[in-house]
Symmetry: C2
Subunit: 227 residues, 2 copies
DNA sequence: GTCTATATACCGATAGAC
DNA sequence: GTCTATCGGTATATAGAC
């Protein structure tokens, strides 16, 4: 199924059926989407913590009481959203790495998949990044593991390329971190690229090209100048 | 003067003398440091919005009333910190670009300077990044301008290198953005690099090398694969 | 299922003693 | 300069009508 807010909200409903008091899927998914769109908009404007449930009630069109039929409290609302996004991203990236044969193509496919996914679910990605820091100790630990898991996908592709002799890369972990940082910049600083008229296709091409050059042209390196 | 929390707090006091009711510099700077360290710690733990002034009072050791002698309200506290950090960073980077002759050295010096600065003032940089999104409309506009101004410093160096024939770079703006994204990752995801035992020197060397290879080995590029 | 009305608690900010 | 005590406002969460 193509990634979209609706498909991921339906998934969300399935996973939280037990806790949600509304039983009709059509009603529940529709309202869940209204709630999430409102959360993303309000969080973008002023942050999740600053957003009050009264704000959310106004923006989503549901009453305070109705909101509490969909989640048990403000904190649970946040962690529910975060958990759902992570699993989805991982699934898509692994799929892309699997269907291609050689490391260069895998890398290109994974980079493009991440960019296009963050394009469709940009509010979700933005929210996840910004709110990950204000989690409970336990949830925060899980969030760092998720970050590393995504990076691991890129790292595995890089290491496979090194073994095959396609890539020269003495510090694959750093390259994987660089890729992740650059992919994050696309959805975190979207205004910057939009202002310059850069499309996701152009950005994807730039990232793939720049990284592949670094992976194929690497020399042994030179000592860092002391000062 | 070498960058440090104390020197930048002294600067802060000088610039806000009019609004601060405490007149003895020694007392004011000492307490200002305690306040800022507490703000950074609490913001890191749970975000600036979630941090209450009661939290800040407890963590800093000053009473609620005393806090209000150092800033006129919670919002002013935040924007005071943000404004102070930006001017400082810009000054240091420009200084580094100025004292070197050729573009490669300028680029290397600016990258290293940014990394070392974010090392010394890491809590400050982290705070600035995380809180920039929840600003007033006017302050937010200023924050985006500041972001572009920092990027502009790198862009100017790149363009100078292209003119001199040292760099091949059809999309300097994207490379500048990439550099900035990677520098930000160092202070935003510090735990990741710390866990892997990567020092700031190693990271600086990696970034400089990877970017310079991209700038000297670039081909005309190839079409993005359709799918 | 969704609403309004309200209980309870905590926040930012200030006044005034020391 | 720093403190304690307190005001007014607003937040989360719930109870009960429809």
């Amino acid at each position: 199924m193509a990634p979209s807010l609706e498909s991921i909200c339906r998934d969300l409903f399935e996973r939280h059926k037990a806790a949600i008091t509304i039983k009709k899927e059509r009603v529940a998914v529709k309202n869940m989407m209204r709630i999430l769109e409102a959360v993303f908009e309000l969080s973008r404007q002023k942050g999740f913590q600053t957003m009050t449930l009264r704000d959310l009630s106004r923006e989503s069109g549901l009453s305070m009481g109705a909101l509490y039929s969909y989640f048990s409290g403000k904190d649970e609302l946040r962690s529910m959203i975060l958990r759902q996004g992570v699993a989805y991203t991982r699934k898509v990236l692994l799929e892309q790495a699997r269907v291609h044969a050689n490391p260069s193509e895998k890398l290109e496919a994974a980079i493009e998949a991440h960019l296009y996914l963050s394009e469709v679910l940009r509010p979700w990605f933005y929210f996840a990044y910004m709110e990950a820091s204000s989690l409970s100790r336990q949830d925060k630990r899980k969030a760092t593991e998720d970050e590393l898991a995504t990076e691991r996908i890129f790292l595995d592709i890089l290491q496979e390329g090194v073994e095959d002799g396609d890539f020269r890369c003495p510090d694959a972990a750093l390259v994987a971190a660089l890729i992740k940082a650059v992919l994050q910049d696309w959805y975190l600083k979207r205004w910057k690229y939009k202002r310059r008229g850069i499309t996701v296709e152009q950005y994807a091409r730039f990232v793939v090209e720049f990284v592949l050059i670094g992976l194929t042209q690497r020399t042994a390196g030179r000592p860092l100048q002391k000062r």
